[in-house]
Symmetry: none
Subunit: 216 residues, 4 copies
DNA sequence: TATGAATGAGAGTTCATTCAT
DNA sequence: AATGAATGAACTCTCATTCAT
């Protein structure tokens, strides 16, 4: 029984991801449930409201990014590890359009705590290793990795079906910017907390697409 | 009366920009009209449907970007001209959040022909001047300017209210990438037509939020 | 000035008839006014509301039927006069579809008094002449002429574009029914007043399509 | 639940018939749903749009007419069978005003195929029996039965509440017209297909009141 | 527990009518 | 007197959410 419930939850999240990708985030729950081969009612047994389903998708996306970051940590060469992280995320983004939208809007910072911390930890390590090895500039910070990968994501997002690999054109430039001797940064970086705040703020915008917060 | 009508059209577009910025693109026409101090019916006298109002906002945004590009052309120094263009666009984006969303979705390529051509023309000139002066790498293309500015826009978009000037941190890196001797590009650039296509395709995604094309 | 006003009134009624015929009675006043080459405001100078414009069309239709009846009276032969009346009305109906709808809904018995009386008078005379000449059965009444012509109108109405002359198939039968020795009538006839009442009642149904009676 | 759903479907059709009868076909779905004691949403669960609800009413009306025709076939005497058919339909029409409007506009010839065929079959049989027995003229055709009953319906339609039985006055005349030796027909009859076409064309007029076809 | 029917608020859109010019 | 812009109530339809089965 428990197994079935868990299975249905997965089915719903997967269906949601697919339907959101093709129909946009304003797809109806009816359609998602049907796509999952379940009734709407079942969706409401697993998620308090549409918003929570979206959040679960975001969670899943975040999980995959964390995985990519942790995999990168297993790469011996510190510089290749960083490159691998970028490529991994971008490839994910290219295949599941809208990931960025969903990823950024991770919807409930309070509930996503742990994976986020794991992400920050992984990125910090990735960066520190590079800096220790002298292949990454000293003034780079973990949040820079976040913003730089985001920048490339937005290229993919717009280039879309026409040229889903467009990010590859700008990747060397971005990586080059991380090297020691790269152009001076034009301002200070965001701390991990600030970045979390920024994302949380940005999420509000996206959340409006799903409106209706918890009651009470 | 004509004057009042024109005034109301402006009022509506302004209201739409503001409401879209704060409530997202799925804000209702009722709300926009109210914000403009007008009745819904009036909105429909001026715009065939919601989609057309969004398109008008996009048009306006595009116009402003074109202006910025043309202003940049009047700057003597070719390199400063390019930097000025980047700064101008980013500053605009920072002040009117959501510009990117609306700008990219300029909604009817067929109807926006002329401004877009003016934009491409201006960017091409900007680039050519830089290349002739030897301050811009030879293999850069107009579409690169577009994507690079977009990348910085996305930073602003996410950093939002927390750090609306975050783009400044990455601007030097991006500009550095345009210099001769910058890191090799990782793939070919998009031609102006391809970029237009990509944007047009991307727009479809956004258009789903507004759907309902002209009838007949 | 007076001339212009009268001219515009005619223009509007004509436009209304045409637009109602092609677009149905739910056509908008805007469209009718545009078709007449005038502004909506002008329509409201001439007609208190949409309902009154419809009523004016009905009035005009009634006038034309009265004319047909009075023309028939000028035909020497009493039987041919009656046949001529039927043919005249049906031909009118065939060419301007929807006449029946508009005609029946003559909308304000109080205001249409005179033409209706002229119609009843003409029909009574038509009938009496036939009865006096012995070519029409004695128990026929003026309202019978009305219903019989209506029956044929409904055939035209449905046969529509496919076979606008379908009424001709059943005309002999109907006329035969008016002859002395025709099949016995199955019930009593309506008096002129009753028929007026029936039409007035029926009109209410049609009026609902135009709703909104005078205020107060 | 299935039972409840079916019940609600019936409730909606019944409510629609009643509301259409009293308020006209342009009654709002809100009103119909309320009359049925249901929410609008429920109406839309059962019928894709207003048009389909009207079509369902038409379907029901057609079904009842088919029943009447098939009942008539069970009457021994061929002539009385025909008279019974006329009386049955007219009585139905008298009690549910607007039947004619809704009946004629049976809205989707493709989907109503079977009942229509059953009707044509029944009418053909009715007629053939009469002709074989020598009580119906040889040149009468099934479509004649349709038009003749329609003619009487229009009388009822107009006479309305004032004299709902007015059709009885003209029934003998009409039946007499079907007898051998009745007045010559004034033109050819419509074939079953042509009549279907005429009705389908007429329906377009009515459909305008309901517009908006299925999407895609 | 799963289902899908029911609900109703809310969105986009139209149009009779009013009124400033 | 004529115009057409402005208004807002009303209509059709959608969809997140609830609830009977």
């Amino acid at each position: 029984m428990r197994k079935d419930a868990a299975r249905n939850r997965e089915l719903l999240i997967d269906a949601a991801r697919e339907v959101f990708a093709s129909r946009g985030i304003e797809a109806s729950l009816d359609e998602i449930a049907k796509h999952a081969g379940l009734g709407v009612g079942t969706a409401y047994r697993h998620f308090y409201n549409k918003h929570e389903l979206v959040a679960a998708c975001a969670q899943q996306a975040l999980d995959r990014v964390v995985e990519i970051a942790e995999q990168a940590l297993r790469v011996e060469d510190p510089w290749q590890a960083i490159g691998g992280f970028f490529e991994g995320v971008l490839r994910l983004q290219a295949e599941s359009r809208g990931l960025r939208e969903v990823f950024l809007g991770d919807y409930d910072p309070d509930e996503v705590g742990q994976p986020r911390e794991r992400l920050v930890a992984a990125l910090s390590l990735l960066l520190a290793r590079g800096q220790r090895a002298g292949v990454v500039r000293e003034d780079a910070e973990p949040s820079d990795l976040g913003f730089l990968v985001l920048m490339l994501c937005s290229v993919t997002d717009v280039a879309g079906t026409i040229a889903p690999d467009m990010w590859q054109r700008y990747l060397p430039m971005v990586l080059d910017g991380l090297r020691p001797g790269g152009a001076d940064f034009g301002g200070r970086a965001l701390s991990a907390e600030e970045m979390a705040d920024a994302i949380a703020a940005h999420k509000k915008e996206l959340i409006r697409a799903t409106h209706i917060p918890r009651p009470e």
